[in-house]
Symmetry: C2
Subunit: 209 residues, 2 copies
C-alpha cells in the first residue's frame, strides 16, 4: 500500500494516524505541494482534485479524499474502531470530525491561500483569515464533542481525534489563539503520547524540511 | 422529525433529497441565513457551527453536518441504498460526494462570501471566486464518477447524485460555465425527473422567496 502525501498536509496526517492506529504498514510517497507536484499530469490522473492524500492499494486501486479513505479503513480493518457502534453516536462523532474536514480545512487549503494572494492580500491578512476560521471552527468542534473524557468521545481516540490533532498542528503553525480551548489541547497531548500519533507527526515524515 | 434548513442551502437540499428517496416524512423548519438566524442563541446551541441543516429526531436527539446526517440515514434506513456494498466502491462514491462537500461547497459558503465582502471584494469578484471553485471541483467530480451510466455510479441515484444536484443548482444560480460537463447536466436532468429530487427542489420549499 502506498500513501501519496505531504508532510505538512493535515489531510494526509489524518490518514497516517489512522493507518498507524490500525497497524497497517504503508509506503510514503511525497508530493511536494509547494512545488505544484499535485498538478503534474501523472499525479492528477490519480487524484483529479489535485490534492493529497491518495492511497494506492496493493492491487492498484486508487482511493482519494481523506474522509472517504478513513471510512474505508474503518470498514476493512474494524479494530481498533474509529467510530462507535450506535448510529446516533456514530453521527455525532462524524459531525465533530466533519466540522474540521468541511468547515475549517477546505477554507484554509493551500489553493485557497494562493488564490487570496493572487487577489492582492498580504501574508498578515492571510494568517488572519486562517486563524479566524480555525478559532470559529474549533469552538464549534469543542461544543460538539462528548463530555469531559481523555479523548473527544471517551477513553480511546477515534475519528474526531484523528481530525483534531492535525488541525491543532496547523493552528500552532499559524499562531492561532487557543484561549478557551484547553480541553482540546489536553486531548492533543494525550493523543501525541500514543505511538501511532507520534509516528504520524509531520516532523517524523521522510519529506519533512 | 424536524429538519432545520434554508431553501437555497445546498447542504439542506442534500438531506431533503435523501429523506425523500428513503420515504421519510420530516417537518421543515426554516432558518433564514440571510437574516442571520443561524447565529440566534436558540439555534446556535443546537448547531454550534451555526449552519444548516440540523436534524432533530423524534426523541430530541440533534444531528448536524449534512454528510454525517446522510451516513446516519443510510445506516438506519438502508433502502433504497445511497452507497454500494463493496468497501472500495463505497470509498469511490464517497470520494466523489466529498469532492463537492469539501472542495466546492465550504469555500463558497455564505460566511466565506460575507468575509470576502468585508475584505473589500465586490460582487463580480465574488461570483468569479465561486465559479472558479465550482468549475475546478465539478471537473474533478466528473473524473471521479463511474463510467457512462444514467446516474453517477450506475442505474440508480446515490450519495454522489444527492450531492451533485444541489451543487448544480448553485452553479446555475451564479452562471457557472458548464462547458465540457454535459454528462453532469444529463445526470441532473434524470435526477430531477424523479419525485424525490423534485420535491426537494429549493423552489418547492415553504420558505422559498
Amino acid at each position: 500500500m502506498r500513501l501519496h502525501g505531504y508532510w505538512r498536509s493535515t489531510t494526509a496526517y489524518r490518514v497516517r494516524i489512522a493507518l498507524a492506529l490500525k497497524g497497517i504498514a504503508c509506503e510514503a510517497v511525497p508530493v511536494d505541494l509547494t512545488k505544484g507536484e499535485q498538478s503534474a499530469p501523472g499525479y492528477a490522473v490519480l487524484n483529479p482534485g489535485r490534492g493529497v492524500p491518495t492511497l494506492i492499494l496493493d492491487d492498484g486501486t486508487v482511493l482519494t479524499q481523506s474522509t472517504a479513505i478513513l471510512e474505508w479503513l474503518e470498514e476493512t480493518t474494524p479494530e481498533p474502531p474509529l467510530l462507535p457502534r450506535d448510529p446516533v453516536a456514530r453521527a455525532q462523532v462524524r459531525a465533530a470530525a466533519l466540522t474540521i474536514a468541511t468547515d475549517i480545512h477546505p477554507v484554509n487549503n493551500l489553493r485557497v491561500v494562493n488564490r487570496l494572494k493572487a487577489m492582492g492580500h498580504d501574508q498578515d491578512a492571510i494568517v488572519d483569515w486562517m486563524n479566524g476560521w480555525m478559532r470559529q471552527g474549533l469552538a464549534a468542534f469543542a461544543a460538539l464533542i462528548g463530555p469531559d473524557a481523555p479523548f473527544c468521545f471517551g477513553e480511546a481516540p477515534g475519528l474526531a481525534d484523528v481530525c483534531l490533532v492535525p488541525q491543532l498542528y496547523n493552528a500552532r503553525r499559524w499562531g492561532c489563539d487557543m484561549t478557551g480551548l484547553c480541553r482540546l489541547a489536553g486531548i492533543e497531548a494525550r493523543c501525541l503520547a500514543l505511538p501511532a500519533f507520534d509516528a504520524a507527526r509531520p516532523e517524523n515524515q521522510p519529506d519533512a524540511a
